[in-house]
């Protein structure tokens, strides 16, 4: 080992090369450590982490730092923080909500076009329907029926209709028994919901068409017929997209020259 030493430059200085280094912040170090433990499954869901003041004495960091770390984890959906006696940071496994919220940030931040949302749904949902037809349980069917019943209720408001619609689509994803698809679909559906909320095209006609389509898809899923499920879902989602985009253009084009 002796004898291998870094070469010297003309100045006699050793020419050791070091990559630029990142100095992590204290709060990040703590957050990373806790995050890793949580994801590793070291704590049961719902377990309380030590109190802030305990963490201070254990880590010898200041309370500010500890709190920032906890705040990071909270934003990432890894803990839920309750104030007051018996409160504290409770471990939570991140679920669809966190994906949904970050997808929403992406959508709003990147000004994702409504068309892109609908396209994405066209990509994902037929596959969900296929998986659902393969793996559905009776509980899944019950959820689908319940959602569809709510959609058919003509006395409901627009918001009710859209919410029930979201529920049904999420129920399909749930029936696929693919956790990731569930998360994505629930994020997507909610986003489409909010984007469609002001649209005026949801009339009784649309409602009836929707109910009919949902019913026939549900039937395919119940019958464990993947091919029919894919085909029908494809048609449904595609025609819905077409309808929305048509209205979207109608409402946007008539206002030229305002620039």
């Amino acid at each position: 080992m002796a004898g291998t030493r870094p070469p010297a430059t003309s100045t006699g200085r050793s020419a050791v090369r070091l990559a630029p280094m990142e100095v992590p912040k204290a709060s990040d170090v703590l957050a990373d450590d806790l995050r890793e433990r949580i994801l590793e499954g070291e704590f049961e869901e719902g377990t309380a982490l030590p109190t802030e003041r305990d963490l201070v004495t254990q880590t010898r960091m200041s309370r500010t730092t500890v709190r920032e770390a906890l705040r990071i984890l909270e934003v990432q959906g890894l803990v839920r923080i309750k104030a007051g006696r018996g409160g504290g940071a409770f471990v939570q496994r991140p679920g669809k909500e966190s994906v949904a919220s970050s997808v929403n940030l992406l959508i709003r931040g990147q000004r994702v076009r409504l068309a892109a949302l609908l396209e994405t749904r066209e990509a994902i949902e037929p596959f969900c329907a296929k998986l659902a037809a393969q793996h559905r349980t009776d509980a899944d069917l019950a959820r689908l029926d319940a959602a569809n019943k709510a959609i058919a209720d003509e006395t409901g408001s627009l918001a009710d209709f859209l919410q029930a619609n979201v529920d049904w689509h999420v129920a399909v994803a749930t029936a696929s028994h693919n956790e990731l698809l569930m998360g994505l679909m629930s994020a997507l559906s909610t986003a489409i919901y909010t984007a469609t909320e002001n649209e005026t095209f949801v009339d009784d006609e649309v409602r009836r068409t929707t109910v009919r389509a949902h019913k026939s898809i549900t039937t395919a899923i119940r019958a464990k017929d993947p091919d029919a499920a894919v085909r029908r879902m494809n048609r449904h989602v595609h025609s819905y997209a077409q309808a929305v985009l048509e209205v979207d253009e109608r409402t946007e084009i008539p206002v030229p020259g305002e620039n």
Copy 2:
């Protein structure tokens, strides 16, 4: 309006119903306000927000609170914080990284099965290929070719191969010109990358097959042939999934009874 009063219970008590209320934290209020402005486009990307101490005087909140708000936005990918003179919080629009990281949290937190990842890719990527075939530009083609060249380089390590593989798949998504699909695919690909990194099944045979498949898909995209692109991508992704799962079972089953 007079005369409508809440019904009374048997005890003569008014039965007013109130939902549980949320009292927002100060830091959340600030964070929400800033987030809304950022997403609304009030600041150009890269704009510096006021310094922490300025925000303190403007909002009349304490520095602790202001810092927590900024930290929240940082975690959500809405600002990037630099220390030192000329530093501060710089506005940033959330991109695929933030979606990717939250999808990763979901995957690790929910213990999403590798099979679910692969299924999801099977759902999304053929559609990406279709869109790519419809909308690809010359720049897109260049990226695809570059990535494929890197994959074909047999001198590269496993990590190099996998990285180039990810690059190619992301390039397809990019060519789809759908921002959301881009974000999802880049998150998915990276996740599959890490999940596959320890697998032993990537031999020269696999590499050659992969290169061949990518080439034929690229050809379809270049020729603007959506149907062929979908078909070939479907086959590629599906057979890759099969191969991975086969190895996965082989490596997991032989160790029974350790429970």
